[in-house]
Amino acid sequence: MVSRPASTPDPSGQPRPAMIQLRNLVKRFGANEVLKGIDLDILKSEVVCVIGPSGSGKSTLLRCMAFLEAYDEGDVFVEGLLLGYAQDREGRRVRAGDPELNRVRRNVGMVFQQFNLWPHMTALGNVTEALRRVRRMPRPRADELGLAVLEKVGMAHKARSYPAQLSGGEQQRAAIARALAMEPHIMLFDEPTSSLDPELVGEVLQVMKQLARDGMTMVVVSHEMGFAAHVADRVVFIDQGRIVAQGPPEEIFQGQQQAPRLQQFLKDYLERNAFWTRTGEDPG
């Protein structure tokens, strides 16, 4: 097990511990190098939004943080511990076994674009499954905790419903509850609202906003620029496998960062979304 203590002072002078540290992260799919050496620190209680064009590697980046993809070079540290790899007797790097991997990854929770709720269990069943199997909690206690966390996301009244009976927004909120039930220190969101009908996006973003306010460390890959602008502490722009620009939302969105690819990306986004300027309104 490799430990890397690290901290970065925040504006108030107190050092904030780094929850996730990426050092020169490289990931290849066959001959295609998707991540070309990423250095990134995610600090405690920070909300980091990762934006970028499709194919830029942002989802891969997130999945490497959860070791759903085995990264090829570099290091990923979760709360100071190396994720997914260990050193064998001769000091070489080998894949960590499942128990070791689970131990390091224990405090990371993930929410997926496709929700990935298990269809044969109720919402409450989904939420309590890990509590009962991994934490070995007895059923009454697990149900109690499960209902509490479902209440937090506004889904307590649908606890006994099956995923097929829930709307997309309800399913995603249940999925968030499922991850929250295990009391993670870090929550990763992989395009959590991209599969939702527009009118259902708001309820999910609301839950995420509340989580941020409660001090959860969050890494969010999303196209929801409004969320990035108003909730994120830091926005990271990735293009073609590299971090091209990062900084507070004001810097990124108000054009203070001059990276041309970032400017192009924002321009494309605004053109697609600022539909009101194309109806012949007088731009006086």
Binding site: R105, Q114, L117, R133, A164
Partner: protein, 220 residues
Amino acid sequence: MMVDFSVLTHNAGAIAGGFAVTLETWLAGTCLGMAAGLAMALLLLGGGRWTNRAIRLYIEVIRGTPFLVQLFFLYYGGPSIGLDLEPVTAGILGLGLYGSAYFAEVFRAGFGSIPKGHLEAGTCLGLTRWQMVRRIMLPQMLVIIVPSLCNTIIVLSKETAVLSVITVPELTGILTGIGSLSFAFLEVLVALCAGYLMLVELTAALGRWAEGKVGRYMIR
């Protein structure tokens, strides 16, 4: 040609006995086959290179050769390697081994049908592989594999007839014996057809009922 069913009623005891042997070999063979098939599918999931190759070879060989030849190999060839089996035992073993290859394919397809994302969610939450198989893959799979399982079970019920060739006293063997002695082939025919059609119908009906039960959560 006169049709006279009394030959059947006179031999009712023997016929019932034959039917019992059919049921016995069929159910025992099915259980053996399903257990072995599931074990193989689970091993394929685990993915050791040589175990996978061995299992795939086994499945291909069993599915690529006639059941009768496999039975002969077991029953007549067995003694050469010290495996001296009674016909019924050989029948059950043969049926089980034969079925296991088909059941293994059904289970393998079932495991493959689970969306990868469901397993990723489980991994992230810390579930072990075994917990995921038991709690997430198998329950979800059931809806998809029940029809195929049912089909394979029906196929095995019909293959029990082949057991008569290695002198197992099941339904076909007993009834054709009665037919040869009494020349009442038409009546024997009717009885045989009725027997097997009934078995097939019952199994198919059970299968439909099972499909309904496991698919409950899919209904909005």
